[in-house]
């Protein structure tokens, strides 16, 4: 137990309670919260309407889909890998779920509100199932054929895109939906939606799993030093399989989230999202070399990403400049953390 605490806090205090406290207020998260507050202040000065419940709802709604795949990506990155297929999984799982709801259950977009719950439940199972399956294929390619994760997941990314186009003919498939699930609970006072609440719960559970379980400890161990992990008796292949399966399943969950948001499954629903997820993970302080990363960092990283995107639209930055500004902010966030960790940690 002492061992795991030491690993989790990177050699913090021996006292488990103090260790936990220092993990909570860990420097990395403090920096990120600081950046977040700074951004909100700046955007609010430039555009007073930014400081509103509606903006909070906009940001959280965007955050919901990307944080799911970013949390999965965090596990993968900590284990020393990368999963490029997650964006394509969002598209494919949404399309398969929509196709099932439209063609197997025979429901079209006129089915709304609570009438849609049964169909959405089926859609969720299908969507998560598709994601889980693709995750297992990724793990199979990596473990069995020793294909590096970058190439293996690039291949499945292409296959997922292809299948989603074949199934949908490139067009959105609409079916039963309840848009109230994605709307703010109270547009004037509560920016949360039911869908975002579910995402937050899932992220919390998965986060605890990474930081409090043996599964998480093994993930760090494999990412830090695969040979040592193997020597310590960890079944590396089996563990890698679980990591990619989790990433795939979370991408599948993001697939049904985006379906609910759009009322349709579209092959382009996840276009470019793998890069947003990786950006969130990196802003959150994880190392692409493996062994380092925290869920809280990723959660805040995704929030910062969408605060910036929302803020830039709100203050009226020309769209051509938006990408440049986002890129500079990502670089700045990462550089700030590197400096901070050099000074703050041994």
């Amino acid at each position: 137990m002492t061992d795991s605490n030491q690993t989790a806090t990177k050699g913090g205090s021996q006292n488990p309670i103090l260790a936990r406290l220092s993990a909570l207020g860990n420097n990395q998260s403090t920096v990120l919260v600081g950046v977040m507050i700074l951004l909100i202040v700046v955007f609010s000065i430039l555009e007073p309407k930014f400081l509103s419940v509606a903006t909070a709802n906009n940001i959280l709604t965007d955050w919901g889909s990307v944080v799911l795949i970013a949390v999965g990506q965090t596990f993968v990155v900590i284990s020393g890998g990368i999963d490029l297929s997650v964006g394509a999984i969002v598209g494919l799982s949404g399309v398969v779920a929509a196709w099932t709801m439209a063609n197997v259950l025979g429901l079209d977009q006129s089915v709304k509100g609570s009438d849609a719950y049964g169909a959405l439940f089926v859609g969720t199972l299908v969507s998560v199932g598709v994601g889980l399956f693709v995750g297992l294929v990724n793990a199979f390619l990596i473990n069995k054929f020793k294909i590096v994760p970058f190439i293996a997941t690039l291949a499945t990314m292409g296959a997922c895109l292809g299948f989603s186009v074949i199934l949908s003919n490139g067009m959105p498939i609409g079916s039963a939906n309840d848009f109230a699930l994605i709307s703010a609970m109270a547009p004037k006072s509560n920016p949360l939606s039911w869908a975002v609440l579910v995402v937050a719960i899932v992220v919390t559970i998965v986060g605890l799993y990474l930081h409090k379980s043996r599964f998480g400890l093994y993930t760090y161990a494999i990412g830090s030093n695969t040979f040592a992990a193997r020597g310590a008796g960890i079944n590396v292949e089996r563990h890698i399989t679980k990591v990619y399966a989790l990433s795939g399943a979370l991408a599948g969950l993001a697939g049904i989230y985006v379906y609910v948001r759009l009322g349709a499954g579209s092959p382009s629903s996840g276009t470019g999202r793998e890069l947003d997820a990786i950006a969130a993970v990196v802003i959150g302080g994880a190392s692409l070399m493996g062994g380092i990363g925290r869920i809280m960092g990723t959660v805040l990283g995704a929030l910062i990403l969408f605060t910036v995107q929302s803020g830039l639209i709100m203050i009226g930055v020309a769209p051509d400049w938006k990408k440049v500004v986002v890129a500079v902010l990502i670089a700045a966030a990462v550089a700030a953390q590197t400096l901070q960790s050099k000074n703050g940690r041994k």
């Binding site: 709802n57 067009m171 639209i313 769209p319």
Partner: protein, 331 residues
């Protein structure tokens, strides 16, 4: 049995030779053979090309010619298209319908085909030099943009002297169709609806969820927003979803582009004021008709450049027209 078949074949060959020697015109000779038309489009995954495929298949069947349909699965780029054109030309089709993904890069492919005696037509997009091209058939995106402005003005009850805030969702700065539609929209606004103010544009990067994000932020920034012009199918889907989630259906005018079945259904429920539809199937039909005519007779009645207008589908459009313009999934 085998021998008799061979004899028949030999006789046939001799007969053909005799006919040629007898001095048939080359065009008529071609008519004796089976005509095959190769169709190289931009990207298979685009519903626009799926609809085009249906039109091409219909016309090929009607004309009794073989259709070779080819193109990259998802990449709209000359790098992937040029090798595909080369492979298709190696099959020696009688004609080639080409949707050049780049006006300059594909010029050499056109020259290569013409040098090999293959008649070439351009559809949707064109090569710079049309001298050797039988016909160029395209949709009028600029006119589509103007039709969108007209539909939006009707929805918001445009009256001179009043100000209306409008935003436009684009896919990227470089999509040529987006640019033409935007130009048409802006020109119509400048000439006919000067009270419409285009407050902002944003890019969806081909992702409908990002299109929804843009609209969400606009709705927060512009509480008096009168209308949205969603310039393609992706933006249309995203904008429609954003209005539904914010409970603003019918309160903010929304004109979209591309007649995806899922979006066409949203005209009836009042989410879309109008959808501007192209007619890719008609473009393909006309191109094949022109080429077959040209291969058979050496000339064609189809004009050198044909512009097929875009069509605005609204709640008043007849069911027959809605069915005609809705993009049907090709199989």
């Amino acid at each position: 049995m085998k021998r008799s078949a061979r004899t028949a074949a030999a006789l046939g060959a001799m007969a053909a030779l005799a006919l040629t020697v007898a001095g048939c015109a080359p065009a008529e000779e071609a008519a004796q053979e089976e005509i095959s038309i190769a169709f190289v489009m931009g990207a298979e995954s685009d519903p626009f090309f799926q609809a085009m495929k249906l039109g091409a298949e219909e016309e090929a069947a009607a004309q009794g010619v073989t259709l070779i349909w080819q193109g990259d699965p998802s990449n709209y780029s000359p790098e992937t298209q040029i090798p595909i054109v080369d492979a298709v030309l190696a099959q020696q089709p009688s004609g080639l319908v080409l949707i050049p993904t780049d006006p300059k890069a594909l010029q050499a492919s056109v020259a290569k085909a013409v040098a090999a005696g293959i008649a070439v037509a351009n559809v949707d997009t064109r090569v710079d030099d049309l001298t050797d091209v039988v016909t160029f058939i395209t949709g009028d995106n600029k006119d589509g943009g103007a039709k969108a402005a007209e539909a939006l003005a009707a929805k918001i009850g445009y009256t001179d002297g009043k100000k209306y805030e409008v935003v436009i969702g684009l896919t990227s700065a470089t999509a040529t169709t987006n640019v033409a539609r935007l130009e048409g929209f802006k020109e119509a606004v400048a000439s006919t609806y000067p009270g419409i103010e285009i407050k902002d544009v944003a890019y969806s990067e081909s992702n409908p969820e990002k299109a929804a994000t843009n609209v969400n932020n606009w709705l927060t920034k512009y509480p008096n927003l009168a209308g949205i012009f969603a310039i393609d199918g992706t933006n249309a889907s995203g904008a429609a979803a954003a209005l539904e989630a914010k409970g603003l259906v019918g309160k903010v005018g929304l004109v979209g582009y591309d007649a995806y079945p899922d979006n066409v259904a949203k005209i009836k429920s009042g989410i879309f004021t109008a959808l501007i539809a192209q007619d890719p199937a008609a473009e393909a039909r006309l191109a094949i008709k022109a080429l077959v005519e040209y291969i058979k007779t050496g000339k064609t009645s189809v004009e050198k450049e044909v512009v097929i207008p875009n069509f605005a589908i609204t709640a008043e459009t007849s069911d027959a027209d809605v069915a005609k313009y809705t993009y049907v999934a090709g199989k």
